[in-house]
């Protein structure tokens, strides 16, 4: 038997809530967080809706009870809030005595400050140059939680934080760490907003994954972390166990830098390898939290890959992107938290805005909140640029 990996803590901040309870409540009451941008100036603020957290950086810093300089990245602030919450559930503190690590993920890093300050560098704000790199937000999280031993950062576009959770699991499996805070954080920025806009894959309306009329994604921001622990590490604290991470896999589509292959090969491999690793079968998967961004390309190929793997009897699936927007490097971890909430509460959060199936692959996601569904195993997908495809499986204990 391979060693078990348990989840003992979750933490999240997104456009639908500042913590787990608020996010759960929004999901249950179908309250989405997509709307007009308010926190930074951009020519697109009226035309490109986003999943924005309606607090400015000073207000986020207040939540953390810290004072910040103008060059302090929002990516780090969001990450610190979610990571602190995840750890607070576990009864652990980040102490030198524990063999604990933090593995974060981000795609923009400190870009929110760089794009604002790069043409007006002063002695007072110049530290944005240092905090631009992805690893900097991870170190701010580690310092804030007093984690000294291991700090690592992964960046594989939109699958980044599912991969950091995977990396954390490997560290535990190989006895290199006992406790890992793993997840990701990404802030909205002009850089990513214009990037996705230049690719012409942003929906000017509220995104509608898997729908025939889908017309692109809405960007979002947020952070989420899970605390992973080894079987030995949770001894005596079994009441803290939320679920088990039973399967995980990463594969590559090896097809195109941004588009996925026609038959969704990478997605198919990620899902099937994760199921194989978990020693489960496709019949055991009760629900899929799909990547479902709302783009023409992603949703079709993901549906094709699901159909290839699961046959005509599609499992229950839905995308929560209409709630939060696509939070890029944080998406995998945010949806891992949502998957765990589904599993723990026997609830499926619906795929908002769906009305009509895609012609090429007529699949139907869950469109209404489902309660009292027995969920033993949830599969969560995240796919990214560069054909980077990953899946996680969380199982009830």
């Amino acid at each position: 038997m391979p060693p078990k990996i348990y989840v003992t803590g979750i933490g999240i901040i997104s456009a639908i809530g500042l913590n787990v309870a608020e996010n759960f409540n929004s999901l249950k009451t179908l309250k989405h967080g997509i709307g007009k941008l308010e926190n930074f100036e951009t020519v697109h603020s009226q035309t490109l809706p986003c999943g924005e957290i309606k607090l400015n950086n000073s207000q986020l810093a207040e939540i953390l009870d810290i004072s910040i300089s103008p060059d302090f990245s929002r990516t780090a602030l969001l990450g610190m809030i979610a990571a602190r919450e995840a750890l607070s559930n576990t009864g652990l503190t980040g102490s030198e005595k524990l063999n604990m690590g933090v593995i974060s993920a981000t795609t923009v890093g400190g870009m929110d400050r760089t794009e604002m300050l790069c043409r007006s560098i002063t002695h007072e704000n110049r530290n944005f140059i240092i905090s631009h790199v992805c690893g900097d937000s991870t170190e701010k999280i580690a310092d804030f939680l007093d984690i000294t031993g291991f700090a690592s950062t992964i960046s594989t576009a939109c699958s980044s934080s599912i991969n950091s959770i995977m990396s954390g699991a490997e560290m535990i499996k190989n006895n290199l760490l006992d406790h890992v805070i793993a997840g990701g954080t990404d802030t909205l920025s002009k850089f990513t907003l214009n990037g996705f806009n230049s690719l012409m894959i942003l929906d000017k309306n509220h995104n509608r994954p898997f729908d025939k009329q889908r017309n692109g994604l809405n960007l979002g921001e947020g952070a989420a972390f899970v605390v992973l622990e080894s079987e030995d590490a949770v001894k005596g604290r079994e009441d803290k166990i939320l679920c088990e991470l039973t399967g995980y896999a990463n594969a590559n589509d090896a097809f195109h830098q941004t588009a996925s292959s026609d038959n969704g090969e990478g997605a198919f491999l990620a899902m099937s390898n994760a199921i194989e690793k978990s020693s489960l079968t496709v019949e055991d998967i009760d629900f899929i939290n799909a990547h479902g961004t709302g783009t023409i390309n992603n949703d079709l190929t993901e549906a094709i890959a699901i159909r290839r793997l699961f046959g005509e009897h599609d499992p229950l699936f839905s995308s929560t992107k209409p709630f939060t927007g696509h939070t890029l490097g944080a998406a995998g971890a945010i949806e891992a938290v949502f998957s765990i909430l589904s599993l723990r509460n026997n609830m499926i959060f619906p795929n908002l805005n769906f009305s009509e199936s895609m012609e090429e692959m007529p699949v139907t996601p869950v469109t209404k909140l489902m309660e009292n569904v027995i969920i033993r195993n949830v599969l969560s997908n995240s796919f990214g640029f560069g054909g980077n495809d990953s899946s996680l499986i969380f199982s009830a204990v």
Binding site: I129, A142, E170, N194, L199, N252
Partner: protein, 352 residues
């Protein structure tokens, strides 16, 4: 399982590797940034994709293909890359355009290529490798964490071989930006770096070094990777951490024949290495490398290249020697680097 380095491909400020002439003589640079000596990319990449690629992707892909060629592997089992900064050129290009053109009429190509996993993705497409594909980006520990992942993946038996690389590019703009935070010694060339080690700053570099790792030893094997470990912050003293690392691989300080250190001439950082030398490795041969590669986030990949090559050839380049030339065969090499007393890493290689 043992992990062997069976192939290397590198594009560095000291030229490309494999090459007979690599480091026969050190390339000397004027003050400023140390750029890589670029190969004929068209020998490796078709003209159409080549036109669209930024330097980091060209370097990364080409050095990866050189490495596979050296290892005589067509398709890697998995791909793991490291980069601290990612695609600087494309990121800056897209950012400049969006500021200058007030967020309109933007060309998406630099944005597409700006993701940190662009090199790993490009290699996957080029080699048709659909397996595990990962990119580590944690500052100067990124490469060692990628190496650790590769070791774990080889040990799991999941993949027969892994293509592992560290890639970084530096642009003139990025170099100039970092002047604001005192990163560089602006008036010092690489051959003079140590003479100026009482002042702040170091010398900028870049490069791309790829390795093919496998549990199978071949006729081309360079060295065996025994272990690597990163510390975000040291738990107690450096001495204790190093000793514990050696205990974990069942060695003592006397077993180490050569220590390769990340000394970079910065007065704010180099004192840390002094304590390692003075307390543990007083009589051991000490070497350094950052005057050859320049300082960059994944320059530990350059150190691994040097260590692997010297274990294979037993030829220690003059340019890296700092003190106590080894009198006997070099069997074990320890690489130790850190930056600003954070992200310390220990990597041990042995002759195979």
């Amino acid at each position: 399982m043992s992990v062997f380095i069976n192939g290397i491909g590198a594009i560095t400020p000291q030229g490309c590797f494999p090459s007979e002439d690599f480091l026969k003589e050190m390339n000397v640079f004027e003050p400023g940034r140390m750029s890589v000596v670029e190969p004929q990319y068209s020998d490796f990449i078709g003209p159409v994709p080549l036109r669209r690629m930024s330097k980091i992707i060209k370097m990364g892909l080409t050095s990866a293909l050189m490495c596979l060629n050296d290892a005589q592997v067509k398709k890697p089992g998995a791909i793991i890359t490291a980069t601290g900064l990612g695609s600087v050129e494309d990121t800056d290009k897209f950012l400049d355009n969006l500021i200058d053109d007030q967020e309109s009429f933007l060309n998406p190509t630099p944005f597409i290529q700006s993701t940190h996993n662009a090199v790993a993705a490009r290699i996957a497409i080029e080699t048709g490798c659909r397996n595990y594909n990962m990119t580590y980006v944690h500052k100067n520990a990124a490469f060692e964490q990628a190496l650790l992942d590769a070791i774990l993946k080889i040990n799991s038996g999941e993949f027969k071989n892994i293509l592992l690389g560290g890639t970084e590019e530096i642009t003139e703009d990025n170099y100039n930006l970092k002047k604001h935070v005192g990163f560089w010694k602006e008036n010092v060339g690489n051959s003079e770096l140590l003479k100026h080690n009482t002042s702040q700053g170091t010398i900028a570099g870049e490069g791309s070094v790829f390795f093919n790792l496998s549990f199978e030893k071949t006729g081309n094997s360079y060295a065996e990777v025994i272990s690597t470990k990163t510390w975000y912050k040291l738990p107690s003293s450096l001495k204790e951490a190093l000793k514990n690392f050696l205990v974990s691989v069942r060695l003592t300080t006397e077993d180490i024949d050569l220590v390769l250190l990340g000394i970079n001439g910065n007065v704010e950082e180099d004192y840390i290495y002094d304590s390692a030398i003075n307390e543990l490795f007083k009589d051991t041969s000490i070497a350094w490398y950052k005057h050859l590669s320049g300082e960059y986030e994944t320059s530990a990949s350059f150190a691994l290249l040097l260590a692997a090559r010297l274990l294979k050839t037993q030829n220690i380049p003059e340019a890296i020697k700092l003190s106590n030339t080894p009198l006997k065969e070099v069997k074990n090499v320890l690489i130790y680097q850190q930056r600003f007393n954070r992200n310390h890493s220990f990597t041990l290689l042995s002759k195979c």
